[in-house]
């Protein structure tokens, strides 16, 4: 049963990204990514990381991709992307991707072969809370500072134009 869910979610996830590569409309791209990231949230849930799954769906599929959609609205790109004539770049990119994939899979195979599989860590959100608010408290607080800095930075960068 878990395998069926895993395979369906993987197809959702990878299919969203492939559709993003093939589509030429930026708004469609963002929506495909919402689909893909929501599927990834489900996969996080399968990995027994329920809090990460919820945050993935809320923050990534929700907040960040909506931010992208708002940015696309600001660009008002009326015409879709013209089709490419140069295919060299696509072929080179795909070749590079294949080499990278072989490397990653080899590394993953070496790292995971011989490990005991299927150990359950338990869906312990309480343990995560202890980690966040005890062991990594300073990092957690500094993260809030980082978010404020990003907010102010974005306003300073893309806010109302100053008068000349």
């Amino acid at each position: 049963m878990a395998w069926i869910i895993f395979i369906v979610l993987s197809f959702l996830c990878l299919g969203g990204v492939v559709a993003m590569i093939l589509s030429r409309n930026q708004a469609h791209n963002a929506l495909f990514l919402v689909l893909s990231f929501a599927g990834l949230g489900g996969i996080f849930g399968l990995l027994e990381a329920p809090f990460a799954a919820v945050v993935q769906v809320l923050v990534y599929a929700g907040a960040i991709m909506v931010l992208f959609l708002f940015a696309i609205m600001m660009f008002n790109l009326r015409r879709p992307e013209p089709p490419d004539k140069k295919r060299v770049q696509a072929i080179l990119g795909s070749g590079l991707g294949l080499v990278l994939l072989a490397q990653l899979l080899l590394a993953g195979f070496r790292a995971f072969s011989g490990r005991p599989t299927g150990v359950s860590t338990g869906r312990d959100v309480a343990r995560l809370g202890q980690l966040l608010f005890k062991d990594y408290l300073y990092a957690f607080e500094i993260t809030s500072l980082l978010i404020v800095a990003a907010l102010v930075g974005a306003l300073a960068l893309a806010g109302p134009k100053e008068r000349e």
């Binding site: 878990a2 395998w3 895993f6 996830c13 990878l14 990204v17 492939v18 993003m20 590569i21 930026q26 791209n29 963002a30 990514l33 990834l40 996969i43 996080f44 399968l46 990995l47 027994e48 990381a49 809090f51 990460a52 945050v55 993935q56 990534y60 907040a63 960040i64 931010l67 992208f68 940015a71 600001m74 790109l77 992307e81 696509a90 990119g93 590079l96 991707g97 990278l100 990653l104 899979l105 993953g108 195979f109 995971f112 299927g118 150990v119 860590t121 312990d124 343990r127 995560l128 980690l131 990594y136 990092a139 957690f140 980082l146 978010i147 990003a150 907010l151 930075g153 960068l157 893309a158």
Partner: protein
């Protein structure tokens, strides 16, 4: 029970798709989305490794990465908006002053 290696393989596939999308697409916005895909693949790999090591630290790390990614998305989009204001275009083919 699904072995963590399967999740790691999925993360590798997702990362490679992100790299390919980054190289194939020609507008800044979609390339930025491809970067987000790569970040997510990294998150998935961290979660798979943390599951294989039977530790919860990976989940805390992933939460921090998602937060930093949100900040990064905000700043990146602001920069892309600035590029669009200056050039009226976000196609990378139109931005090639540095080409020799």
């Amino acid at each position: 029970m699904i072995p963590p290696g399967a999740f790691f393989g999925l993360a590798a596939l997702l990362f490679v798709l992100g790299v390919v999308a980054f190289f194939v697409k020609k507008d800044l916005l979609t390339q930025f989305m491809a970067v987000e895909v790569m970040l997510n693949a990294g998150n998935l790999a961290i979660l798979a490794l943390s599951k294989a090591a039977v530790r919860a630290e990976g989940q805390a790390l992933v939460l921090f990465i998602i937060t930093v990614a949100a900040a990064e998305a905000v700043i990146g989009l602001a920069i892309i908006v600035l590029v669009f204001r200056a050039r009226k275009s976000i196609r990378t083919d139109d931005l090639k002053e540095l080409k020799g």
